[in-house]
Point group: C2
Chain length 353, copies 2
């Protein structure tokens, strides 16, 4: 209850800070060049998320015991812009049509190009313009941290981790691209990429970043690192389950999207590992197919359920959330902060209690 | 003579610093993930340039009167990584096949994808991987400045200009994309984009960045800004002349490449403005054509020469170099630095004396 209201308050402050910052940048940099529409698109986009990463950065900060801080909140909010950078760029690379229940940025920009009656390929323009807006998000994300009002010492502690996080994000995405879509990789390999590409950057790095800003000691950083690994993996497993069975109203994407896009996720890899030979054969044939229709999606969903992969994934999530909970018990974090970390772990792995 | 040896020494130090930094990043971030080839590509690429931007940053620093500094040189060298980011990304957007006489990054990455026998479109992979390597360059560029060893106060003066420069680069590129390829824009419009996209970021911003690091006063910054505008425009005009008449051995691109790609450059816009109605008609028809062959390139070159656009562009370059020279005379910069700035202006606008 107390957590719920704290979270709601924190999320809305993050959105306000992002909105204010992005509006200022658009007015300063995009509007004079006549790009009011891309500017508006950026404002929608930057303030549309659940702010999971910002909340983790801020919780990392609170682990330092210095208490609530508007400057730290502003710095944390920069994580939303970094995430916006990653999403806009990913959607171009994955050719995703939908993001957060809306048309993805490159498609909206392509539509804008058509409306303007400009020559050349609108699709190509949309992709290039989206890449450039992503560049702006990346630069702005960092500027938002730098101009947050945190003391220089706090920022100096943060930058090395910030740089590492951004590099890890790009390298993780690169690893994802080189994943052979025709071959289903091992669960271990998929978990490794998931950790680097999504888990680390969603939970662990944000937490460590906030904790470093607050000057937390190595013991706290170690605990947060281990908590972050566990919850990052659980978060990814949940995300992969949603990619197969998720309700569009929750995910903002059509059901079974990961199957249609033949993403080699943890859940698919688990099914490939656990399925009976005949089912495994069907799954692999499906993965080699040119195009996966509704029937194929249904088949894959059935194999994933019947093989026990779905149950196994739920079990792995439970184990990780439980491991994280025990870690928090043995630290001497402020009880309210430890409680918030525990509740966040339940929330972002979609468990009611 | 003294300048020539100073320049050669500075350029080779810049290349050494970039090479050392990029090797360390590759060993730390790319090799562990199994990307030795992209890593090598980055090393080739990052150390391949003429270091114009780094030299201007360093000259800006020297305007502060604090003298030569290895830390300032390292910070200046970061400009090469920022430039590498811009080139790799531009080549994807412009679908350019050649860069610095080599296959461009996205094509080399596509070839790597084929050699690895990975599934999916190699072309698509090459573009996505190039975008991600460009992201790494952008992050590394800034990290190189941050870790240059310059005092915090010098860096704090630099960051606002650094952020502005990076945003300006993205917005300028966006403006370039929205340039209607079918309509030839006015000379003024083209110069404006050229200033924002290339001129500013090649001469003016690097100079201002270095001068800000050195703590130069407003008077010096104003002079360097005006010098930078003039030489940036002259640089762009020269670049546009080379894009039409340039020798591949100098440009690393086929002759007339800008015509084949129907780039609306200053030189093309001048020809459209100065040509006889009949020639202007031919030029505009050519620009509307689906594809421009060797004959079309020759026709455009002839119109550009006969219209006097080529002569006019040379004249405009001369005027700007002369204006910059006079500016340097009336400042109380150290004579050796003022002389270096003058000689750099001749060098990067390709004038022997």
């Amino acid at each position: 209850m107390r957590f719920a209201s704290w979270l709601a308050r924190t999320q809305s402050s993050v959105r306000d800070h992002v909105d204010e910052f992005v509006r200022a940048r658009c007015a300063e940099e995009l509007d004079p060049a006549g790009f009011s529409l891309p500017g508006r698109l950026m404002i929608d986009f930057a303030s549309g998320g659940k702010c999971v990463r910002s909340v983790f950065v801020y919780l990392g900060w609170l682990c330092g015991g210095a208490g609530e801080s508007e400057a730290a909140l502003r710095a944390a909010a920069g994580a939303e812009l970094l995430h916006a950078f990653a999403l806009v760029q990913d959607d171009v690379m994955d050719e995703s049509a939908v993001r957060r229940g809306q048309q993805s940025a490159h498609l909206r920009l392509a539509a804008w190009h058509r409306e303007q009656g400009l020559s050349g390929s609108s699709a190509r323009f949309g992709e290039s313009a989206a890449i450039l807006l992503a560049d702006l998000f990346l630069v702005w994300a960092e500027r938002m941290v730098r101009e947050s009002g945190l003391p220089a010492a706090a920022l100096d502690r943060a930058w090395p981790r910030y740089d590492a996080m951004r590099s890890e994000l790009a390298v993780g995405q690169l690893a994802d691209l080189t994943n052979d879509a025709n071959r289903l990789p091992s669960v271990g390999a998929v978990m490794d990429i998931a950790r680097r590409k999504s888990g680390n950057y969603t939970v662990r790095r944000p937490l460590e970043l906030g904790a470093a800003m607050a000057g937390c000691d190595e013991t706290v950083l170690r605990v947060l690192g281990e908590y972050g690994d566990a919850i990052g993996e659980a978060f990814q497993l949940r995300d992969d389950l949603l990619g197969v069975f998720g309700d569009p109203s929750t995910t903002g994407k059509p059901t079974g999207d990961d199957i249609r896009e033949r993403k080699a996720t943890t859940v698919i890899a688990l099914a490939d590992q656990l399925a009976e030979p005949s089912d495994r054969g069907r799954l692999r044939d499906l993965w080699r197919a040119e195009f996966i229709d509704e029937q194929g999606v249904a088949l894959a969903q059935a194999v994933i359920t019947d093989s026990g992969a779905r149950r196994r994934a739920e079990q792995m999530i439970g184990e990780r959330v439980e491991h994280a909970r025990r870690l928090l018990e043995v630290t001497d974090l402020e009880p309210s902060v430890a409680d918030a970390l525990h509740r966040m772990s339940l929330l972002c792995t979609h468990r009611s209690h």
